[in-house]
Symmetry: C2
Subunit: 375 residues, 2 copies
């Protein structure tokens, strides 16, 4: 659809294109950073095409200036923008006509496979919830992110990073199912190791919902096709003990921002010390390649993109302050999830977990009661 006016010879490529719906507005750096991200993305993925949502008179000239984007971008005009200060409840009521709403709407209609936005997280989750709706059986959707780690892939998956501020036992068990599915598809791990974040690894630690979730996950790990490693601590988040870290959105958000803050503190201290004397400045010049490789390994832009899990559609939330590199990373993630058919796989896992839960419940009931389940 994005290339409707291309010559006949391109039709095959066009048919196979993967369409991503992108919100051009609402990020801290404005639409220019988003368009620059699109330019990087088309170079990397020949099959990618975009529906770009925002102010047409502002975006049109930007797109026209980029020959690489010719025929790859369809503009979808939306006059209004959701700002970082808008409250989610307001956007749910009055969000129609914003670029964010329009971006999600394209996924709902099936015109695009995955949506990407740098906008207000709470508003994006609210709009995604009311337009895409939750997968059957899911009470609380979650945001999953990659986290730099000592694992061979270089990353762990952690959720919930702040879709909601709390999670009960059922939610935590569903997060484990969804996080494992994301790790299977996003990190190519056949049987991910799942841990439950707590203040200690001993079984008596933590609140009641954590202990219950622990017992449920011990029993459920085989059905869920993951390995449950038990409670993990904050120090395990960047470790190679675990691939998926499950926690509530309050704790996940605090841990994520604490980790970002500490990594930045260490990097700033390193810079200060290398600037402290003429000798250390000379050493810094010699160590330039080394320091650049370090910077790349801890660069949060490389892992940019929280994924909303548990909805009838895939939404990637890019960091609000993402630059071209960050936007391109979020789009790469969206492309990979679209290409691998992630949503269908996730939905199948959630459905089969639901089924297993109903079967387990039915075993405790009279034999005749089992007929109520499907599959």
């Amino acid at each position: 659809m994005a290339n409707g006016h291309l010559p006949e010879t391109d039709t095959a490529a066009q048919m196979a294109s993967i369409v991503i719906s992108v919100d051009a507005m609402g990020g801290d750096r404005g639409p220019a950073a988003v368009v620059a991200g699109l330019v990087l993305s088309v170079a990397a993925f020949p099959k990618i095409a975009f529906l770009l949502h925002g102010n047409e008179s502002e975006l049109g000239p930007m797109i026209a200036r980029e020959p690489a984007l010719a025929g790859r971008v369809t503009l979808c005009h939306a006059a209004r923008v959701v700002t970082m200060h808008d409250k989610p409840a307001q956007v749910m009521r009055n969000g129609e006509g914003t670029s964010m709403w329009s971006t999600i709407e394209s996924v709902k209609r099936g015109d695009a496979t995955v949506a990407v936005s740098c906008g207000n997280t709470g508003a994006l989750m609210a709009v995604s919830m009311i337009r895409l709706r939750r997968l059957p059986g899911i009470k609380r959707p979650a945001i999953a992110s990659f986290w730099p780690s000592r694992n061979p892939t270089g990353f762990n998956v952690m959720l919930d990073m702040g879709a909601d501020i709390k999670a009960d036992t059922d939610d935590l068990v569903q997060y484990a199912t969804m996080g494992a599915s994301y790790a299977r598809n996003g990190l190519k791990l056949a049987r991910p190791r799942v841990g439950l974040l707590n203040v200690g690894t001993e079984e008596h630690k933590g609140g009641a919902e954590l202990k219950e979730a622990h017992d449920r996950l011990v029993a459920f790990q085989h059905t869920g096709d993951f390995e449950y490693v038990g409670f993990v601590e904050g120090s395990d988040i960047p470790s190679d003990r675990v691939d998926v870290i499950v926690t509530d959105g309050f704790t996940g958000n605090i841990a994520l921002k604490t980790g970002e803050g500490v990594a930045k503190l260490v990097a700033d201290f390193l810079r200060q010390e290398f600037n402290a004397s003429l000798w250390s400045k000379l050493a810094a010049i010699m160590a330039l390649g080394t320091l650049k490789r370090l910077q790349k390994r801890i660069d949060p832009r490389r892992a940019n993109g929280g994924v909303f899990l548990g909805l009838n559609g895939t939404v990637v939330k890019s960091h609000g302050s993402a630059d071209a590199t960050g936007v391109a990373a979020a789009i790469r993630l969206a492309y990979q999830l679209a290409e691998s058919g992630f949503l269908e796989r996730l939905a199948a896992r959630v459905a089969s977990a639901e089924q297993a839960g109903q079967d387990a419940a039915a075993k405790g009931a009279p034999a005749g009661a089992e007929g109520g389940t499907t599959e």
Copy 2:
């Protein structure tokens, strides 16, 4: 008391000595690391003296081998040791006769001003609670730690780091009072800036107890003699926006361990990159001084020692894996708190906060009801 046999001329110094009660057992590295920490401490503080608790037949020869400790250490025999695996409830019931119990008992009897232990945190808090008891009006004591930051002092204070796994509105407000008092004494700040940890700085973020605590702190900051800066995020913990970060013990523990894990990850990545090639190894040699200064700035041993606040006595919890440098840092902290009369200052702040709360409540009641308050 530690120098009972010294000649007459030393009596004045002896009278002025500051006695610290130290648990020699229960740390991961055993009593040798603790004794090595004492040796570092006596060199730094001429007035310091120790009551050292543990197995006499093991400790006696160790002390005898260190001339610097002659006349500065009184051994207090305790046959049993609390291990890292003992549950707090068990230790509360059966802990008498352990070195940990004996260490706290010396503070209760007034023989020492501050206690230091590298042992099991949960057990140490449990023993401290039942032997020292809570300050009047305190429901949940807290553990406060220093955190490396961009502030001129190089540190922030954060609490609760895991004394309990939850905190209600009253607890959070008391943590603010106690944390501000600790920052005044430990960081020499006349009017500390206090922030409440949340998932965003906007007023509508977070759960009900956070919103209520926010409103209470806005009203209470002048009486409490601190500046309340509102909600802060995980990324603000190592910043210069705030001096005291208030949160519940579950979140505080996760944030602390996440920060430690991320700092270690970055340091390990840096080491790997400097070892990657001959050239980078040469650069590392040139940058040796710079890297050592960085290591010192982020060395967690420098800030070793969580302080239990809200009890009738001061207890410093050293990291379980502390070496001589770490133990000496915990003892330095204990010494400074003893010397400054911190416990009396903290108790006075808590009492005046209680009074202010009662006064505020009384204003809402009939005039005659005010007579019930003291002071």
